[in-house]
Structures are given as C-alpha cells and as structure tokens.
Amino acid sequence: MDRIFQALADATRRDIVVRVAQREQSVTALAASYAMSFAAVQKHVAVLERASLVVKERRGREQIVHGNLETVRRAARLLEHYEEVWRFRAQSISDILREDPNEPGNEQDREGEKS
C-alpha cells in the first residue's frame, strides 16, 4: 500500500496512470507528452511498475505501458474460476465422507492419530 501511495504522490506519475489506463502507450509516446527526458519518464514508469499500477512489456523495439487494473481483474476472474473447481471438490469430498464414514482401515487411523 505504501508503494502505491508513494507512486501516486507525484503528479506526472498520476498522469501516466490515467493515460495508460485509458489506452496503452509506448514509453516513447509518454516521454513526448512531458517536458522531461526519456530516462526520467522511464524512471517514473519503473516506480509505477513496482507498485503494480502499470505493466510494461517489450514489443519489438518499443516498451509498451498499460494499466494494471485490467490485469488484476483478469487474475481475479481466473482465480474465481479455479475457486469454483475447489468448491465442487469440497462438496464431493463431503459426499464421500457421508457415504463412507468408516471405510476399512479406520482402526489403524486412530492409532496413527495418537502417535
């Protein structure tokens, strides 16, 4: 969280976040928008990247920056699907336990639990 606040404490960085959230842009294109050097813009992007607010990827010779919100949402969606799988599994486990509460070998288990 600290990283996020630090990253957003700078006006240029806030502007970059808004810009790339609307549309992905190359670092070169971003640099052209500000009265500062390419290297300086690159540094700002690196700070945002560390805070996971943007994602930078190399595409040919260009470095493309895009907002990470989408990435976070995408990850959330995919993980939710996986969660669904586990809900089904837990339900099946529960059904098996109800059907076979004392399958053979349970006596051994109790001994095992004591040890």
Binding site: R74, A76, L78, E80, A90, Q91, I93, D109
Partner: protein
C-alpha cells in the same frame, strides 16, 4: 462440510481455500492417499477422474485422466514433492498429453494441502500457486473448454432423452 474461507491473491496468483469436514484427519488424508477415493472427487461430476498411477511418496508421480460425457479424455499429472502424513502434502499438478507426459508449455500449479484437527472436525487448507498470469489464463481456458464440452454434453443428453420420449 463448511467452506470456511476462500481467498484469491491476484498479485501472488494464489488461491487459498479452507474447508471443514465432519471426519477425522486420517479419514480425510486417505481421500488424498487412496487413488480409488481420490478419483471420486478430483474430477468434475460429469468428468470423473481415473488415476492410473498414484505414487504417494515424496518424488512420486501420479497420472490420471478425466473422461467427459462424450468419452473425451483430458489427462493430467502430479509430482508429489512433500508428504507428512496425515497433515501435510505438497505437489505439482499439470496437464498431460495422451501419453501421460507433462505438457511443458502449460506449466504446473503448486499445491500445498494441510489437514488440521479443529474441534472434532478436520480443517483442510489448500493453497494453489500459479506460475504466471498467462499460465493461469491458459490453464483456465483448458479447464473452461472442458466445462463447455461438459455443458454441451449435458444438452446432448437432454436432447437425446427428449427424442426418445
């Protein structure tokens, strides 16, 4: 069974799933240990799993396939990396090709399972960690594809019943 909590971490790409079961730790452990029991719950209801191999020892391999309503097969593998019966199990889980060999570009999911006694019940905590967002996406798509085929299969069954009715 109670699902106690389910948490996803979108940065670490993990799913932490916690459920309580009305059984002893040993009993729940055997649901993981015994391939005949494992296959009763590992696959989705209409895609039952068959474990052809389940070397439930550290470094041991498991091979399974799931069979869809149309007889389609989806294969998977495990490598068990750590076993501390009956409380802790760690393994890698991935997709396999028709020979049971890991599909390398799909990577694997790292799973850590812990079973703890909790007020006469067993608390199962399962943490799955994906390698990257792209891998998570690929694995989900593959799973979703199966889910889709499953749904289509069910529709087919319903239609077939309708025709014969």
């Amino acid at each position: 069974m109670t699902v106690v909590s389910s948490q996803t971490d979108t940065e670490a790409l993990t799913l932490t799933f916690v459920a309580d079961f009305d059984a002893s730790v040993q009993r729940v452990w055997r649901l993981w240990q015994d391939p005949r029991q494992l296959e009763r719950w590992w696959g989705p209801p209409t895609w039952p799993a068959t474990f052809e191999r389940h070397d439930f020892v550290p470094g041991g391999r498991s091979n399974y396939f799931m069979t869809g309503p149309e007889g389609e097969k989806g294969a998977g593998w495990w490598v068990t990396t750590l076993i501390e019966p009956p409380h802790r199990l760690e393994f890698e889980d991935g997709f396999a090709d028709e020979n049971g060999d890991p599909v390398a570009q799909m990577g694997s999911v790292r799973a850590v399972v812990t079973l703890d006694e909790a007020g006469g019940r067993t608390r199962m905590t399962m943490v799955s960690t994906f390698e990257s967002l792209d891998q998570l996406q690929k694995m989900t798509e593959m799973g979703m594809e199966e889910g889709m085929r499953q749904a289509l299969g069910q529709i087919d069954t319903l239609l077939a019943e309708d025709v014969s009715a």
